[in-house]
């Protein structure tokens, strides 16, 4: 049972990382004076920080 849960958690985490790989690191970046695009943000750092924080907070 625990193993099933772990696998499910891991799958969910993996698919989120796959998704973030795409929505944060790919897709067209539009430059322009009025855009508030995330292009200027260091996304890799953000991504790592957010996820590492989560992993640390994970009670398991």
């Amino acid at each position: 049972m625990t193993e099933t849960l772990d696998v499910a958690t891991s799958m969910r985490q993996t698919s989120l990382v796959d998704l973030l790989d795409r929505v944060l690191a790919t897709g067209v970046v539009l430059a322009g004076d009025v855009t508030l695009s995330l292009a200027g943000v260091d996304l890799v750092t953000v991504h790592l920080r957010a996820l590492i924080t989560t992993v640390r907070e994970d009670p398991t």
């Binding site: 958690t9 891991s10 985490q13 993996t14 698919s15 989120l16 990382v17 796959d18 998704l19 973030l20 790989d21 795409r22 929505v23 944060l24 690191a25 790919t26 897709g27 067209v28 970046v29 539009l30 430059a31 322009g32 009025v34 855009t35 508030l36 695009s37 995330l38 292009a39 943000v41 890799v44 953000v46 991504h47 790592l48 920080r49 957010a50 996820l51 590492i52 924080t53 989560t54 992993v55």
Partner: protein, 254 residues
């Protein structure tokens, strides 16, 4: 910065807005098409406050916020890609109003139409390769105890050589898998391998690739991935998709 802003999800050729009637944007916002001259943005209205530079950095470190926005963004892009060819935009592309977004659209026309031509009738698939050991690593204690300092150095040298060889073999293996699948794809690219801490998979990732596949070759591609999976230890080859063509969205003239 507060008030309404225009959030952009994707660029597409004009299509029937009614096809997105059941789909909601970020924060539940209603989707709209914002277009001119044979090209349209799919947009919704968001609260600018959430995406203002200062607050945005804070929000991005909040995984709950990030996951929610990423999934909402993705569900719109997926819905659009299910209806027509779509060039996804980077998460968090927000303009102050529709007029500003429309002005930007005008300049994208040639590049957007060219990319839409490339993406038409094709979809993205992801393939990840992990270094899953074929057998458990040798017991640490099983190696002969070094009898002298020289023996110790020899053993240590041999271990380092072995690790270098293994790393080279793993890199070659990743290249080989990538090349084999690239032959079936229209376009292919490699993303940075995911950190085991983030992915939750304990084995190191050797390859994190995306392939743009003709819809009528998807079965061929899947069969090639299945064949690779058979040649590798269980769990080493992982297929994901189909994805909207995130990894192949470029507007070079932009």
């Amino acid at each position: 910065m507060n008030g309404p802003g225009t959030y952009l999800y994707a660029v597409a050729r004009p299509f029937d807005e009614g096809l997105l009637a059941d789909v909601r944007g970020i924060g539940g916002g209603e989707l709209r098409l914002l277009g001119q001259e044979g090209l349209t943005f799919v947009v919704s209205t968001v609260d600018l406050g959430e995406f203002a530079p200062g607050l945005l950095n804070k929000n991005l470190e909040d995984l709950n916020w990030l996951e929610r926005v990423a999934r909402e963004h993705d569900s719109v892009v997926q819905a659009v890609a299910g209806v027509t060819s779509a060039v996804p935009l980077r998460l968090g592309t927000v303009y102050c109003d529709d007029e500003s977004a429309l002005r930007r659209l005008a300049g994208l026309r040639p590049a957007a139409l060219a990319t839409l031509d490339v993406l038409t009738g094709r979809e993205e698939w992801g393939v990840k390769l992990y270094a899953v050991p074929t057998r458990p690593p040798a017991e640490v204690g099983a190696a002969a105890q070094p009898g002298s300092g020289l023996d110790y150095l020899r053993q240590r040298r041999a271990a380092l050589d072995r690790r270098t060889l293994e790393a080279r073999a793993a890199a070659d293996e990743a290249d080989a898998v990538f090349e084999r699948l690239r032959d079936i794809a229209v376009l292919a690219r490699r993303h940075r391998p995911q950190d085991p801490v983030l992915s939750g998979v304990k084995h190191p990732m050797l390859l994190n690739a995306a392939f743009l596949i003709d819809r009528d070759r998807v079965a061929t591609f899947q069969a090639a991935v299945a064949a690779l999976a058979d040649e590798h230890p269980e769990g080493a080859v992982v297929l994901t998709g189909p994805w909207p063509a995130y990894s192949f969205a470029t507007l070079d003239d932009a």
